[in-house]
Subunit: 352 residues, 4 copies
C-alpha cells in the first residue's frame, strides 16, 4: 500500500509527466516552525540540472503547500505539498521496454493503463516529495538534538578512501555541492562523466547517519528499527540493498571483531566501535545510527540493449531516449537523508 | 509494533526461558491442508542440537496448535501455534551486558523489566514460530506453483565457489543436512568448527529464492515488494543486511552490465539475466525473486570482551556463558526461507 | 491516524479557509473509467448554497485531479484530488469557543496552533473530498453490480412515515433534490426552516443501503464489516451514532422477532426480513447492507449560548457568527453514501 | 484483519470447542504490575453459569499466561493469554443454519471449512480474551487516573428509570452481581427470565463511561476517537449499534439543547452537560467519555424458526439446541468495559 509510517503517515502521489507530484504528511507535532528557505535548499540538492554530473533537465521543484501550515508553523493537521511538473518531453517515450526499468512490471501490474510517460509514478521524480517531507522532519529533529546526514560512499566501484567519522565531518560534507569529502570528488566525478561519455551509467553506495538519536527506540522482532528504515529506503527507486553498520562485511568477521566493546562515558554506556550501526536487537543503543544503501546504475542508457516492444511483443534492440543522469547517487543523497530523518522522527514521536 | 503483514497478519510472542514461544497467523485461506509432518520436518531444520556445527542445547520444538486448524485443514480463522520451552538453564545469565547483544538495548527500552533469561523475546528462539508459519505458507504456495528455497552463500567469508541456478539445484540443496552444495560444505564446516574451537563465532550470507511467483505483485514507491520482504527479514535477529539480485555489487557495475536484457519465451517476456532479482520498480517481473541476507556472527562468545555490568554500572571484562552456535547461518536458512514464503504468500493473497 | 482503509487507502487533508481540501485515494484498480460529469454531479449534491435549506455560502467544489487518472481512466497509481477554497470570510471567527464544536478540543490537542478559521480541518468542508472519492468508488462498484444509496430517515424528530424498501425506491430518491420520499419532504423542510428562523438548528438520521454486495465479505471478531464501516462513518463530522439493520431497536425485541427467517430463492439462501442489516458475525450475507447514522444538530447557531473565550479564559455568552446550515442532514446524504461505497469497495477489492 | 489497535495491538484467536481461545496483547508499558486476582475477578464477571439469568454451561475461564509477564509485572514484550476450553457438547450442533447467527455467513466466507462447533471463532466465548486484555488495561489506566465502568441501561425494552451519573454511582454498580442499580434489577431480571421461560431471548443496551480521560486524545476526520472505539465495539458479537453521548437522541434535538454549555471550573474549561459524550471533533474534551451499545437478542433460541439445512439446502423449521443465555447483556457488561478500557489506553499510550 502506498502509505508508510506509524505516528507519521506518508502518502505519496503523482507522475513524472502529469500535473505534478506530492505527498501528504500527517502526524507532525503542532506548532513546529518550518523554514521555507531550508526546505527550498533541500529541494535544490535533489533537483536535476544543477551541474555537469546531472541530467540537463531543469525542474524548479518549488513546493506548493496546500494544507497544514499556518504562518510558517505546523498546525497539527496533515500537510500536503505539491510540486508541479514542467519541462516534460513525453514524446521521448515509446513502447520499447527499457531493460532494468519498471516499464515491464507496470505492464504486468496495470495492464497498459499506467501513465508511464517519463517513468510515471515509478520515476525518480517521486523522490522530490520525500525530500520535502524529510526537510520538515529534519527541522523538527534538529530541535530535539538529532541531525541526519548522508554522503556518497562509492560510485561505480570508486570508493571513498577513508572512513568518515563524527558529526563534524558529515556536517562539512553536507555543505558541499558534491556530497563527498574533497579527496574523493575528482575520481568519483570522473567515473560518472566517463560513464556518461560512453552512453552508459553507474551506480553507487550512499551512507547515511543519524546523530543524537536516543537509545530505546524500535521494537524487537517484528517492527525492528531496521525493518522500519529498510521499508522506507526500499521504496526509493533504484535502491537494491540496505545494510546497517558493518552490514554484509560483518558476515565475514568473527564475533570478537564484530562485537562492539562496551564502556562507560559520563555515566552512560557506549560502545568503542559501531559495527552494529547503532541498533541491537532491533532497538537503538544511542550510538550513531548508520545505514548504507546500494543504488543500481540508472537503467535508462543511450546504448543499444536487447529488449522487447510491448506494443508488438517483438524482440528489438533499442537505446533509451530522453535525458538521464549517468549516476543517480549524488542526487539520491538528500533522498536517503530524508528517509532516515522520517524514520527517526516517526520512532521518536511514537517512542516505538 | 509486533505485528506484520497485509493480508496475512503475523503476531509473535514468547521468551526464550518463559513458558514458550508462539505465533498467531491470520489470513490463510480456508480449506488448505496442512501436513503436520512437513511442518515438523521444517521445525527440525531450525532446531538446535542436531549436529556438530550447532549448539548442544536440545529443544523438541513441537508445535501445539491452539486454533484455526480442524482435521488437518485451515478453517479460515487465526491459527495460533505454541512451542513450549524446555531445557532452559537460566542460571547461565547474569547482569553482564554481552557486547553485540540486545542486553544493552533491552535495558534502555524496558528499564530492567524485560525477561532477558536466555535472550528473552530477543532470542533466536523467536524464529521457531516464523518457521512454523513459513511451513504453512510453503504448503499453500506449493499448490499455487510457488516454491521457496534458501542456501548458505558464505560463512565467515568462505564463499560457495559457483552460482547456484535453477530450481532443481535449490531443491537438491534443500534435502541436504548442511544447506549448501556438497562442494562447499567441507570448507564451510571447517570455518564454523574453527571459530568454535577458538571460543569465537562467525557470520554468513544466506541466499533465498522464490520460484514461480507471478509478475505484477508489489507496489511502486511506498509498499514495494522489497520493502515488504526487507521489513520481515530485518525482524530476524542477527540480520544486518538485505539485498535483492546483484544488490551491493550492482553499485559497482555499469548500466549496460546491470540491466537484464529482455526477450520473449513462449509469448512471455523474460530476462536473460536476473541481476534485479525478479523485482523492478517494486513489482515482481515473474523471474525468480532472489534476496541475500547478511547474518552477523553470534554475539555470545566464550572469549573475554570489554563490557559493562548493568547492575553495578562498572566496566568489566567477561566471556559469555551458556551454549551458543558458533555460526547461526545454517539454522537460519529455514528461517529466511520461511520469511520469503510468508512475504510471497501475503502478496499473492492480497495481490499487492 | 489520518489514513483509512485496507486495500483502498484514503488520506484526507486541508482546512476550510486555507488553500483547499483534498484526498489521496490509493488502490483503485487500473483501467476503470471515471466519468467527470458523474463526479461533478455528486459534488453538487453536497455543495452548499443550492437551496433554501442550506447555507448561503457558495462553493463551486470543482475537483482538480493531480494524479492517477489518464484520459478518463484510473492508472492504478494514487489519485489526488484537490478542491480549492473560495468565498471564505475568516473575519467571522473569533476566540469564543462554540459549544458543541471542536474549537475546544482543537485547543486541547494543538495548543492554539490549529488553523481553525472556518472550522479548519474539523470543518464539514472536509467531507467534500470523501464525496469525490466515493463518487469514484460508486462508479467502480456499479460495474460490479453494487449500488449504494442513502436518504434522510428523519430530521429533528420528523420521521419518514414508512419504510423505504427496494433498490427502485432508493434510486428514485437519489434523483430528488431533497433526498427523501415526496411524502415526507414538506414536513422535513418545514422543520429545518423553522429551526433556521429561530436561529437554531436540528439534526437527523440518515439511512444508507448497499445493494448487490456479495456475501462473505468482512471478518469475524476484530475487523468485522460493521467495524470497518463504523470507523469511516464516525470520521464524518457531526456523526454521533451508527447502527446496522434494526440497530438499537433490536435491543428491545425478542430473538423470535429479531432473527431473520431463512429460505431458499433460486438455489441461494436469503432471509425474509433484514433486521441484521445484511451482516451476521461481522460478515455480509448477501442481503442489502443497511446502516443508519445519527447526525447531531449543527453546533454553530445564532442563539446566545454559555461559552468561554479562549483568549481571556473568561465565561461569556456568545452567538455563532457566520453562515451555517440549520440542518446538515440533507447535505450529509451524499457523504454517508460515499462512505458506505468506499467501505464496500475496499472489502470487495480485498475480499476482507 | 484480525488485529486491532495503534500503540496497543490485539490479536485474538480460538474457537468455542477447539483447544481454547486467547489473545496476544502487544504494547503495554514495561514494569506494570498485573494483579492476577483482579484479572480472575473480571473473568468471573463474564463467565457463564454464575446465576439464574445465565446459561448453565460452566467454564472456569482461567487464563494461562504464555509470555510477557514476569513476577507479576509486564516485561514490555507481547503478552499471550490462553483460556482452555472445557465442558463442550459439540454434538449439540448440526447443519441447520440458525437464523440471526453467523452459521450462514461462515458458510459463505469459508465454504464449509470453518470450525463452527459451538459457534467456533464467532462464539461469544471469543470475548473472554478481550476481558482478560481489558483487565490489564484497566489496571494500567487506574494508575493513570482513569476508571472505566459499564452498566445495563435496558434489557428487552425495560429501561433503567433514571440516569446514572458520576463515578461513585458507577463504582457502586460495578460491585453488584447484576450490573444495574438495585431499583431496576427486579424488572430487568424478570424480563430476562420471562424470555427464557418462553424459549425466547431478549437484547439490551449497555452504557459505558471512561472517567478521568485527559482532553486532546483522538484525531479529527479519519482516526477519530469515536472511530477507534466503534471499530473495537463492533467486533464484539451481537453488537448492532454504537452511539456517543446523546447519540441517536441528538438527532431529534435542537442545537440549543444538544450543545453542551461551557464554563470554567478551577481554571479548566468544562461543559455543564455531556450530550456529546466527552468527544468533539473526534477528540476528547476531558469530560467523561460515554458510549452506548445495542446488543441484539441471543439468536439461538429454543423456539421453532424458519431456516435452511446447509447440508441438504432444504428449507426446514428448527429450534436451536444447546444451552444459551436468554439475554447476553449482563455478561456483555465487562466485555464492553474491557473494549472501552483498551481504546482509552491505546490512545493514551499513543497520544493519538
Amino acid at each position: 500500500m502506498n502509505v508508510w509510517g506509524n505516528k507519521l503517515k506518508l502518502s505519496i502521489f503523482g507522475e513524472s509527466h502529469g500535473a505534478g507530484v506530492g505527498i501528504v504528511v500527517d502526524g507532525l507535532p503542532a506548532g513546529e516552525p518550518i523554514d521555507a528557505e531550508l526546505t527550498a535548499a533541500e529541494m535544490l540538492r535533489r533537483a536535476p540540472g544543477r551541474n555537469d554530473v546531472s541530467t540537463p533537465r531543469r525542474e524548479a521543484d518549488e513546493v506548493e503547500i496546500l494544507s497544514g501550515l499556518l504562518e510558517g508553523k505546523t498546525t497539527g493537521s496533515p500537510i500536503c505539498g505539491v510540486i508541479r511538473n514542467g519541462d516534460a518531453r513525453s514524446g521521448d517515450y515509446g513502447s520499447a521496454l527499457r531493460p532494468g526499468h519498471a516499464d515491464w512490471t507496470a505492464l504486468l501490474k496495470y495492464g497498459g493503463h499506467a501513465d508511464m510517460r517519463g517513468g510515471g509514478h515509478f520515476s525518480g521524480r517521486l523522490t522530490a516529495p520525500l525530500v520535502f517531507a524529510g526537510s520538515m522532519a529534519k527541522q523538527v529533529l534538529s530541535r530535539r538534538g538529532v541531525e541526519v546526514y548522508a554522503r556518497i560512499a562509492s560510485v561505480g566501484g570508486v570508493e571513498d578512501a577513508e572512513n568518515v567519522n563524527g558529526i563534524e565531518a558529515y556536517r562539512a560534507i553536507s555543505r558541499r555541492d558534491f556530497p563527498s569529502p574533497p579527496r574523493s570528488e575528482p575520481a568519483m566525478r570522473e567515473a560518472i562523466l566517463a560513464a556518461g561519455r560512453d552512453g552508459d551509467s553507474i551506480g553507487g553506495v550512499i551512507e547515511a547517519v543519524a546523530f543524537g538519536l536516543p537509545g530505546g527506540l524500535g521494537e524487537p522482532s517484528l517492527g525492528s528499527m531496521e525493518s522500519e528504515i529498510a521499508s522506507l529506503l526500499f521504496s526509493v527507486p533504484a535502491v537494491k540493498g540496505v545494510e546497517f553498520g558493518g552490514g554484509f562485511r560483518l558476515s565475514a568477521m568473527r564475533g570478537s571483531e564484530a562485537n562492539d566493546p562496551l564502556y562507560i562515558d559520563g555515566g552512560v554506556i557506549k560502545s568503542r566501535t559501531n559495527r552494529n550501526g547503532g541498533v541491537l536487537g532491533g532497538i537503538t543503543n544511542g550510538m550513531p545510527l548508520a545505514v548504507r544503501v546500494a543504488i543500481k546504475p540508472t537503467p535508462s542508457i543511450a546504448r543499444e540493449q536487447e529488449s522487447v516492444d510491448a506494443a508488438t511483443m517483438r524482440e528489438i534492440t533499442a537505446a533509451a531516449k530522453g535525458r538521464h543522469d549517468p549516476c543517480i547517487a549524488p542526487r539520491a543523497v538528500p533522498v536517503i537523508e530524508a528517509c532516515l530523518a522520517l524514520c527517526a522522527l516517526d520512532c521518536m514521536l511514537g517512542k516505538c
